[in-house]
């Protein structure tokens, strides 16, 4: 009796399994494929600037001695700062904290290091920017002093950039006094500018 019951259960299970198989085979034979793009962001900052001749005057102000970063370097199409992204993003600017001298100002630099005796220009380092591509919710730029904390200058709200990226043109200004010291030898006034690009949420 018990054996018969077992056989019945096995047969029922077999029938059900075959039935289900038939149902599966009877489906329309399509395969669903879902995919998405991996978030990607690339950033190219302007080239380093060298040989920048600063003209002095008695009443220097922001806007003096402008240095346009666009087209700087090998690639004339370089807009200054280039971002390629498939998400909305923001771009921020900050400067370094020099080992000697004053942050936000250009300080004496020689042999790949800041001079142990600080020599600092009297006027701060300024920047101005304009987003040349994309949809931005950022306000129009004015001459702004650079600080050691990030200042977000552009929010790009487009879902993605063009294949060749979106540009942001950045212009620097370094006013100089007649009373600022002219450096000799290989020394220059120096500052490090960091551009931070990050996806937004």
């Amino acid at each position: 009796m018990l054996k018969k019951k077992n056989i019945t259960v096995i047969l029922l299970a077999l029938a059900l399994s075959l039935g289900l198989s038939v149902i599966a085979l009877a489906a329309d034979g399509t395969q669903t494929v879902d995919a998405n793009i991996t978030a990607y962001l690339a950033l190219t900052p302007p080239d380093a600037i060298s040989g920048w001749a600063l003209a002095s005057n008695a009443n220097p102000a922001h806007g003096d001695n402008q240095q346009d970063t666009a087209g700087n370097g090998t690639y004339t199409s370089n807009p200054g700062v280039l971002v390629t992204s498939n998400t909305p993003y923001q771009l921020a600017i900050k400067c370094d904290t020099p080992s000697t001298g004053t942050a936000g100002y250009m300080n004496k630099y020689d042999n790949s290091a800041y001079s142990t005796t600080a020599v600092t220009l009297q006027e701060p380092f300024y920047f101005e920017f304009s987003a040349s591509d994309g949809t931005t919710s950022s306000p129009a730029s004015t001459w702004t002093t650079v600080t050691t904390t990030d200042q977000t200058v552009v929010y790009i709200t487009d879902a993605a950039t063009d294949d060749d990226g979106f540009g942001t043109t950045v212009t620097y200004s370094q006013p100089a006094h007649f009373s600022d010291q002219r450096l000799g030898g290989t020394a220059t006034y120096h500052i490090v500018i960091t551009y931070t690009a990050t996806a937004t949420l």
């Binding site: 190219t44 900052p45 090998t74 977000t152 006034y189 500052i191």
Partner: protein, 492 residues
């Protein structure tokens, strides 16, 4: 596990997908990470590529992270933030060199126990930063460094509290005829990040009849933070009247926030009333000991309806104790796009000392979305002696030039008073018929007591040959005016 992938083919593929070869750049993928970790699987990866032509030294590190109302990232690099985040997130490798076209995979590991200890208990958050510097310094005066931040939102194992509430509802319209945008400030009061499951805005006219029901666009919100969620309405008709919006946001399937309402007015067909204003030019008053002090400010109407702001000026002493409150109100309605001066007098004056004045003006109407507040504060000093703002133009000449050369004015002002002031104004160039042919603006310039300062800048315009007059008009400390004029020739 540390894996170094020097697969140039992959890099070339990435570059061909995402742009041309450019100098000194880096790329990161994924550049936005949403990850779920368990005790068994508590790590994930991202990939850094050198998209430029020179070798780069890459530093990888984690910083704290929050977001603003529009989803912008605040990178938190304070000492305490860095200390907390490095207890939770570890990166491997932290420093490496990438030759042009090379790719490096970076492993991100989450310490779940530390993350829960620091909180919130349901999620861990970091901005993973990759900083690229040229391997060989090329010197120069300005070194530009690239840094990419990867917002990283991690769901931790354990119970999740998905709760939230609406904190504000407002209505805006870019210009008459445009769509009406309903802004909903939503606060995540739970213990992990999540994207609300939709939401609804119901709009009713003044009879209470429903005129629209529109969906809310949602975005991810971190715990303890607020996001602006929006709903757009493009009505076929938008007649004059008062409307109410009632917004709800879905937390999870079947569960919504309590509704929040706001009113808005339509003052002309398709034109939503948008009261907006601000206090500009709240200047420190001239204050002598125990004499009446007049506070003056300028209120600017930046909205699209008439405003009649009123409120008060509170005066606090150096211990932040309120010692006087003076009412202040606009004398008449201020029309959109214009400003009006408002003043209030503290009749009894104040003893000698340093004070703070806080102006608070209320404007708008409940039916225009509620009463708004504009605030401004200044610090001022009450002096023993009378403050005298005075100056003198000690030189004003414009040398004659050849046609086509820039006009270079020489304008010197001396501060002859007993207090520092700011001077601003303009130099107007006029031809022999008295017609204005050019202007040289003089931006706000501080002048200390006894100091003589040169003002003005070259004018690059071109003038035909002839005799011209230059008129300098200066405003000192926002209260006194000085003028001077001179003649000059433009020669062949």
């Amino acid at each position: 596990m540390r894996r170094r992938l020097k697969i140039v083919a992959l890099a070339v593929l990435l570059l061909s997908l995402f742009g041309w070869l450019v100098q000194a750049g880096i790329g990161v993928s994924p550049s936005l990470i949403f990850a779920t970790v368990t005790e068994a699987h508590n790590s994930f990866y991202t990939t850094v590529s050198n998209t430029g032509e020179d070798a780069l030294k890459i530093s990888a590190y984690a910083a704290g992270m929050s977001h603003n109302l529009i989803g912008g990232i605040n990178i938190k690099e304070g000492k305490e933030d860095l200390e907390k985040v490095t207890r939770v997130f570890s990166l491997d490798p932290k420093e490496f060199v990438l030759e042009a076209g090379e790719v490096q995979e970076v492993k991100i590991t989450v310490n779940i126990a530390e993350a829960k200890k620091i909180g919130p208990s349901g999620g861990a958050y970091a901005e993973i930063l990759f900083e690229a510097r040229p391997l060989e310094s090329k010197g120069g005066q300005v070194t530009n460094v690239a840094r990419i931040g990867v917002p990283t939102l991690v769901t931790l194992p354990g119970p999740k509290e998905l709760t939230g509430k609406i904190t504000q509802v407002s209505v805006e319209q870019a210009k008459p005829g445009d769509k009406v945008q309903i802004n909903i400030r939503f606060r995540n009061t739970g213990n992990t990040h999540y994207t609300p499951k939709g939401g609804t805005v119901v709009i009713r006219d003044e009879t209470g009849s429903q005129v629209a029901k529109i969906p809310v666009e949602t975005h991810v919100v971190m715990p303890g933070l607020e996001r602006r969620l929006t709903a757009s309405w493009s009505p076929k008709e938008l007649p004059v009247g008062t409307y109410t919006v009632e917004a709800t946001v879905g937390i999870v399937e079947g569960e919504v926030t309590p509704a929040m309402s706001a009113a808005f007015g339509v003052v002309e067909p398709y034109k939503v009333a948008q009261p907006s204003g601000g206090i500009i030019n709240f200047a420190p008053p001239k204050a002598d000991k125990n004499k009446p002090i007049e506070f003056k400010l300028l209120f600017s109407n930046r909205g699209n309806v008439d405003l009649t702001p009123k409120g008060e000026i509170r005066v606090e002493d150096s211990r932040e104790k309120v010692i006087a409150t003076i009412p202040i109100a606009a004398q008449e309605e201020i029309v959109p796009g214009s400003s009006a001066e408002m003043s209030a007098v503290l009749e009894g004056g104040l003893p000698t000392g340093e004070y703070t004045a806080i102006a608070e003006l209320r404007y708008g109407k409940p039916e225009y979305g509620g009463v708004k507040v504009a605030q401004a504060r200044i610090e001022f000093e009450v002096a023993e002696k009378e403050i005298v703002t005075a100056g003198e133009i000690v030189e004003f000449t414009v040398p004659s030039v050849k046609s086509g050369e820039p006009i270079v004015p020489h304008l010197l002002i001396k501060n002859t008073g007993n207090t520092d002031f700011e001077v601003e104004g303009l130099i107007e160039l006029k031809n022999s018929a008295g017609k204005s042919v050019g202007q040289i603006p003089i931006p706000k310039t501080p002048v200390a007591v006894g100091e003589t300062k040169a003002l003005g800048q070259p004018w690059e315009g071109t003038l035909p040959v002839g005799l011209y007059k230059a008129v300098a008009s200066l405003i000192l400390g926002g209260e006194k005016m000085l003028t001077a004029e001179t003649s000059f020739m433009v020669k062949q």
